[in-house]
């Protein structure tokens, strides 16, 4: 039993910083809110018959990745000691962490849960690439295995301070440009190619069904990203303040610039344009937030707004069906942000001076991430493809995944045919009626 006096003594002896703990737990909640935001962002862009399947994939990530992370993911990424290439097994099942009263300014459990939120959203980002056609069983296996085999090692290389080989070599990735966005974006490209096009694509008929939902999701992502980037300072510090400021500046710039580009090119500024530009620029500032100043944030935001707009056009030219543009926004935005972080880093902000040498290091770090993600994602997806299969049947795809995979419908405004009787409620476990 720890008494109040004991606790005060422990706090004096330990170097806990209540301000840091308070901010980091707050930031963690911000980041946890991003995955439901992403679900709405993506959900609005698919056809109405698939909206729930997209929400389900994202919420499933919140569940399964949490479990995977505490069982083994955290230990592989931040296992303490280990090698430059893999963390250790010391923290499997969070062994030794859950009741940590160590002497650091933050209990390690804070890092566990903050990093957990990042681990959850990364595979969730990939869902935009294979939306509207993937079997749920294949998806469930894919994200769990991918998180362990692809995400955790890369997080170790880049973020495990003093251990990971890219970290030691000086590659900068403040909040996850390479580890999260490029990683997910490359996996998305591989997934879009291996799983194949949606039936009928690119013929007309793939319009977003509810952009109000997408815009709300964008707002939630934008809000959560403040915790994502400013929390990556790991403390309630001036660096966190800088990250917060440049994140807002970059996102705002990207939203406006993207809309202006399409205004000039396509004739009208669109809501999906400001949403896409904002998210692309948030991706771009992610690796840079703790290293660059506000002027650089303007440059990063504007560059992402322009280049990601054009990158999105690649899929129809090259013929891969990345349903919701994960490649154009996250892979391309992450690469731009990673390179510009190296060029524009300011020693007064994050301790590293930018320049061509640092940009070269960034390119190597990005290259390692790209190759790693591409190779491992290919292996995992092919293994699933040739065992249980990746795609739903053509019939299920046409019917919509909401009904065929989940026996639900996102929208049942009309009451016709929606009547259910008491007996059917009790007995029909496999019923497909309703809605």
């Amino acid at each position: 039993m720890v008494t109040a006096t004991d606790r005060e003594l422990m706090m004096e002896e330990a170097l806990w910083n209540p301000g840091d703990i308070a901010w980091m737990l707050t930031a963690t909640a911000f980041v946890l809110f991003m995955t439901p935001g992403l679900a709405l962002f993506y959900g609005g862009m698919v056809r109405s018959k698939n909206v729930l399947s997209v929400l389900m994939q994202n919420f499933w990530c919140m569940g399964i990745i949490t479990i995977v992370w505490i069982v083994a993911g955290y230990s592989i990424a931040f296992g303490g000691g280990g090698s430059p290439f893999l963390g250790g097994v010391d923290h499997l099942f969070l062994n030794g962490i859950a009741v940590d009263y160590g002497s650091a300014h933050l209990p390690e459990a804070v890092n566990v849960v903050f990093q957990l939120a990042f681990a959850v959203i990364t595979p969730a980002l990939i869902t935009g690439a294979f939306a509207e056609r993937m079997k749920f069983s294949a998806f469930a296996i894919f994200v769990a295995v991918w998180s362990l085999l692809v995400y955790s090692p890369l997080a170790h290389w880049v973020w495990d301070v003093g251990n990971g080989f890219l970290n030691k070599w000086g590659v900068l990735d403040f909040a996850g440009g390479t580890v999260i966005h490029v990683n997910a974006g490359v996996a998305a490209l591989v997934a879009a190619i291996i799983i194949g096009k949606r039936k009928g694509w690119p013929k007309p008929g793939f319009r977003p069904h509810n952009l109000t939902m997408t815009l709300l999701g964008t707002g939630i992502l934008w809000f959560g990203w403040m915790g994502f980037n400013a929390g990556s300072a790991g403390s309630a510090s001036p660096q966190a303040v800088n990250a917060f400021l440049v994140t807002q500046v970059s996102a705002a710039t990207g939203a406006v610039v993207w809309a202006i580009v399409e205004w000039i090119k396509d004739g009208k500024p669109t809501t999906l344009g400001v949403a896409s530009g904002g998210v692309a620029a948030l991706v771009g500032i992610t690796p840079a937030a703790g290293f660059v100043d506000v002027q650089s944030a303007l440059i990063i935001g504007a560059t992402c707004g322009v280049l990601c707009y054009f990158a999105i056009g690649l899929k129809s030219k090259l013929g891969y069906d990345d349903s919701l543009d994960v490649v154009g926004v996250h892979m391309v935005g992450g690469i731009i942000g990673g390179l510009l972080t190296g060029l524009l880093a300011d020693a007064a902000i994050g301790g590293t001076a930018g320049g061509l040498a640092q940009m070269g290091k960034q390119a190597v770090g990005l290259g390692v991430g790209i190759v790693w993600s591409a190779v491992l994602t290919t292996i995992i997806l092919l293994a699933i493809k040739y065992t249980i299969g990746l795609r739903v049947t053509e019939e299920d795809e046409e019917r919509g995944l909401d009904l065929s995979l989940h026996s639900e419908e996102g929208y049942s405004f009309a009451e016709l045919g929606a009547t259910s009787t008491a007996s059917s409620l009790v007995t029909s476990s496999t019923s497909t009626s309703g809605g």
């Binding site: 319009r207 399409e262 396509d266 009208k268 669109t270 999906l272 707009y309 999105i312």
Partner: protein, 112 residues
């Protein structure tokens, strides 16, 4: 007895309804429908990709009237629904054999 069926622009429904009520029509049925005529559809652009949308939203309005009221009803609807631009819609008149008011059992013109 006649059935007047009109396809009009959705934002003109209020004007058409007021106009019909003004001439003494006491009931109507309105349905949200989609279709196209000479107006064709419209173009939507999402992330730089253009989509041609052929079927645009319209309102279908059905009114039962007595023979002697039919011309006035047609005029009331067309005057209220007209904007002068393509896509104003269409209306047509069909003969009706029998009408029954379900509550009272009245039949014929009394049931309108």
């Amino acid at each position: 007895m006649k059935l007047v069926t009109a396809i009009v622009k959705p934002h003109k429904l209020g004007d058409v309804k007021d106009s019909l009520q003004g001439m003494g029509v006491t009931g109507m049925t309105v349905t949200e429908v989609k279709g196209f005529g000479r107006q064709r559809g419209h173009t939507e652009v999402y992330r730089g990709t253009e989509y041609q949308v052929d079927l645009v939203p319209k309102i279908k309005l059905e009114v039962l009237v007595d023979v002697m009221d039919v011309d006035r009803a047609v005029k009331a609807i067309s005057d209220a629904a007209r904007t002068g631009s393509v896509g104003d819609g269409k209306l047509w008149v069909t003969d009706i054999d029998a009408v029954t008011r379900i509550r009272t059992g009245e039949i014929g013109p009394d049931a309108i």
